[in-house]
């Protein structure tokens, strides 16, 4: 294909796509005025019947909790697949360079990374625990928690993950989190006869201990996501740095 023909093709497709987009956006309901009653009803129902202040978390962890169960298992499976692939390749390799023979990162990276590890972990815990009250929840908080591992790495803390058994700890966290949420779904089935049914006391809306199973599910997802993302990052780190020249 010549350059000219390619340009004509691109211009044509872009024009067609643009026209379709403008047409589609023109047919959207006005911003803040969705069609159907669901958008207005969901926050009210979540507040009245589940005492949960953050309607988004209420929907994802209660009303549509079954979807979240599927999604967390997708992440669990993805992390398992990633680990299985990377670990197989690692075994094929020779020995790795000892941590003390590697060059240290710059002072700025060490200072900023080291100073932020603690606060980031606290932020992660806050976002997970307050998921039913303020924006956030298990997923965001979990990824923030895994970010602390990246910061520790940037700060030069090249922990030999395999030796201190941290990988096993991350795997356990991922499994406990995923299993915990599934157990919560089953708990509803056993306690009140419906999967994912909220079976714990609802408490007063806006309090830390409220909304029944929602904060418990948030905690389980937070642990699972933190474990899964940290596990993937740790396996990648081991892979990428195995044969780095010292």
């Amino acid at each position: 294909v010549t350059r000219r023909a390619r340009l004509v093709l691109v211009a044509g497709s872009l024009a067609a796509l643009g026209a379709l987009l403008v047409w589609a956006v023109g047919g959207l309901p006005d911003f803040g005025h969705p069609r159907g009653p669901y958008a207005d009803l969901a926050p009210m129902i979540m507040l009245d019947e589940r005492h949960v202040a953050n309607a988004v978390t209420g929907v994802t962890f209660d009303l549509r909790g079954f979807d979240t169960l599927g999604e967390e298992l997708i992440l669990f499976t993805a992390a398992c697949g990633c680990v299985a692939l990377l670990r197989l390749r690692r075994r094929e390799r020779g020995s790795d360079v000892p941590a003390h023979e590697r060059p240290l990162p710059s002072f700025a990276a060490r200072a900023v990374g080291g100073a932020l590890v603690g606060p980031v972990l606290v932020l992660a815990a806050y976002v997970v625990i307050h998921g039913h009250l303020t924006p956030g929840g298990g997923f965001s908080g979990g990824v923030i928690g895994a970010g602390a591992l990246v910061l520790a790495y940037a700060a030069g803390q090249r922990v030999r993950l395999r030796r201190v058994g941290s990988i096993a700890m991350l795997e356990t966290a991922e499994a406990i989190g995923a299993g915990g949420f599934a157990a919560l779904a089953l708990g509803g089935l056993l306690a009140v006869g419906a999967t994912m049914q909220n079976f714990l006391p609802l408490g007063t809306s806006g309090m830390l201990l409220s909304a029944g199973t929602i904060p418990v599910g948030n905690l389980a997802i937070g642990i699972e996501v933190a474990g899964a993302v940290a596990l993937i990052v740790a396996e990648f780190l081991e892979q990428a740095l195995l044969e780095e020249p010292s």
């Binding site: 924006p135 997923f139 990824v143 923030i144 990428a240 195995l242």
Partner: protein, 83 residues
């Protein structure tokens, strides 16, 4: 649509275009992170703080880290092949 929302939309358009025109994958990891963060501000400006938070952690943490690690891995492989 408020002025803040217009500014956010423009920032997303600029960052998105910059990401497309960045050719070096290493720089692209950074520019796509900037695009992700400007999208997060956009979501916040349109009243979706939950989505903004997820956007920050995915575009600001997860994706750049994965891209950087994959690039580091590819470069180690290339270096070994040259030896």
């Amino acid at each position: 649509v408020t002025a803040l929302q217009v500014v956010c939309l423009l920032a997303v358009a600029v960052a998105g275009t910059a990401t497309v025109f960045t050719r070096d994958p290493l720089r692209q990891a950074v520019s796509s992170g900037v695009l992700g963060l400007s999208l997060a501000v956009l979501f916040l400006a349109f009243g979706a703080p939950d989505v903004a938070l997820s956007q920050i952690v995915v575009a600001g943490v997860a994706v750049p880290v994965m891209v950087l690690l994959a690039l580091a891995k590819i470069r180690t492989d290339e270096r070994r092949r040259e030896e």
